[in-house]
Amino acid sequence: MSSVVSRRFAALSRFLELISSLLAKATLAVSLLFSVGFILCLLLQIFFRYVVNAPLTWTGELAVFLFLWVVLLLASVGVRENFHVRLTVLTSYLGVRLREAVERCVVAAIAAFGVFMVFAGLRFVDLTWGNTSAAISYPLQALYMAAPFCGAAIAIHGLARLVSAQPLSRRDEGLPNVDSASDAGGNKA
């Protein structure tokens, strides 16, 4: 009986991991596209103002739209890749099992917060329905949908980590960004 339960649990764990990894891949691809997009917007803005001498009105707004989506999409990927910065001063002193338990609770709370973002985000979209942006007058729900969408992604990545068979806590956790430029190829000299 218990082996059936654990087999089902393992299957669930694998299934959630698959969904989470596919979602992350798609999210990263869209983020890359949007990132290039907002930088191009800013460059176009300068080009049209000085070279063409016909300032564009929509570039700033579109750039902010793309930027917001990139931030929230990658914030959700950060739950999967565990790159969100955090304090480890206290937890690093805990024993291995206690630290693992605390870590599972933290991930569970993050997933719950993701679920909250889905509902609060949808309510916000609903409350602001029909509003349009100032310059392009695109419907603002296209911007605001980022909140519930990324909430869902956070919940999925969180759940996948929560039921993961792998231990969650590592000693060096929470510091990946420290090295953000150190592997950038500066060792050529």
Binding site: L32, F113, F116, F124, G186
Partner: protein, 426 residues
């Protein structure tokens, strides 16, 4: 204190200590406080969205990406070569080269750990080869990092400017002298160390020919700040647009002039910059809701009232602020600390009647130094990572450098002219 206040202060601290990421700690504390206060929780989403969709904040990913592109495109190595011909023949010259390179690199990069990594990777082995202790070289790399965020462009300054509603352009200018002072102070420490540790002077001064070659090689690296910062101060473009120009410049130089950047590496570099951006800006977004809520309850006023009740002497209060920020910066992520404490800090600045640009510079310089203070300092960890020297060992060599930087901080705090002279000229 009500349950609401407790949730936003103690509740937040408990979540942070449990190892909950900053952004989620703030978000969850805000949701719970909203529930206690019976306010519709949808305001969290509303303020988060408003707090992120700010045009000025787009400067953050642009400057991170531009710095990374220029580094990968070989600009930092050329800056080191240039610093080499300028300073290598002094006693402690090679250490001064590291400090000088970091100062040059600071004008390209807006991030402290990136500065430490870029310069440290080149200079630590080089210094060790010439008779410096590896621990000293690593400590110097850690102490160099903060210069990267004092000299514009600067990621923390962009964020502070948005939160405190001051001009990015002015704040950038206010950081130049503090950055240069740190450079001078660390050069002095280097010189003293080289004398005490009897590091040999093994280079003759560079010939004019060598200087000319280094200048020619480094011309694109030197032109970068001229174009990016010159563009801002010449009124050609906004700081945000300047960041995008920096990206374009880094691409052109890396791909076509130095040819050290490969097209295939670009997606990885872009996404690395965007991950860092998302991590920082997500905290900014959550803090927008947090800031609104604490302001609603006048928490910053009450807390600053507590501090000001202790004394209303500006010199003493500023010292308290300095110590508080250094302590907070020593135990937690400095940018996150700055964002969370912003409401309280701004209130103190207002009540002391300080110029907001001067006060912003104090905060950023303080937190910059906090990035290299043990036990929790980003540049410290970065230096340990790239040098394979333990944090404990680095810290042994770091103290004199920290003292030198704190001296600069005191100058910044008590002599407004250090920060305000440049902004008043433009």
């Amino acid at each position: 204190m009500s349950g609401f206040d407790l949730m936003l202060t103690l509740g937040l601290v408990v979540l942070l200590l449990l190892g909950m990421p900053f952004a989620f700690s703030i978000g969850i504390a805000v949701v719970l406080a909203l529930v206690i206060a019976e306010i519709d929780t949808v305001v969290l989403v509303q303020h988060m969205m408003a707090g992120i969709s700010i045009y000025t904040l787009l400067a953050v990913p642009c400057f991170i990406l531009a710095g990374d592109l220029m580094h990968t495109g070989g600009l930092s190595r050329r800056l080191v070569v240039l610093a080499m011909v300028l300073a290598r023949h002094f006693r402690g010259g090679l250490a001064m080269v590291a400090v000088l390179s970091a100062t040059f690199f600071g004008a390209i990069s807006g991030s402290a750990p990136a500065t430490t990594a870029a310069i440290g990777k080149i200079m630590i082995p080089e210094m060790e080869r010439h008779g410096y202790k590896r621990g000293f070289a690593a400590a110097l790399a850690a102490a160099d990092g903060p210069i990267g965020i004092m000299i514009p462009p600067s990621i923390p300054m962009v964020i502070w400017a948005v939160i405190a509603n001051v001009s990015v352009t002015d704040l950038f200018l206010a950081g130049i002298f503090p950055g240069l002072l740190c450079c001078v102070a660390l050069c002095a420490v280097s010189s003293i160390y080289a004398r005490v540790a009897q590091v040999p002077v093994d280079s003759r001064p560079a010939s004019w020919g060598e200087v000319a070659t280094a200048m020619k090689e480094g011309i694109w690296a030197l032109l970068a700040p001229v174009i990016v910062l010159g563009g801002i101060y010449g009124g050609v473009f906004t700081p945000t647009e300047a960041g995008a120009i920096g990206v374009l410049y880094g691409l052109v130089v890396g791909l076509f002039l130095h040819r050290e950047l490969k097209l295939g590496d670009l997606p990885v570099i872009v996404m690395r910059a965007m991950r860092t951006t998302a991590m920082v800006i997500f905290i900014v977004g959550m803090s927008a809701a947090f800031g609104w809520l604490v302001a609603l309850e006048q928490l910053p006023e009450r807390l600053s009232g507590l501090i000001l009740a202790f004394s209303d002497h500006p010199i003493l209060i500023l010292l308290v602020v300095n110590v508080l920020l250094l302590l907070v910066g020593a135990v937690m992520d400095t940018i996150a600390a700055m964002i969370i404490l912003a409401g309280l800090l701004i209130q103190i600045g207002v009540q002391l009647g300080l110029d907001p640009i001067h006060f912003g510079a104090i905060v950023v310089v303080n937190l910059a130094i906090g990035m290299s203070t043990p036990p929790f300092g980003y540049t410290l960890f970065t230096a340990a990572g790239i040098s394979d020297v333990s944090v404990e060992r680095i810290v042994r060599y770091l103290w004199p450098m920290l003292i030198a930087q704190i001296a600069v901080l005191l100058l910044v705090t008590y002599v407004p002219a250090v920060t305000l002279t440049l902004p008043s000229l433009f």
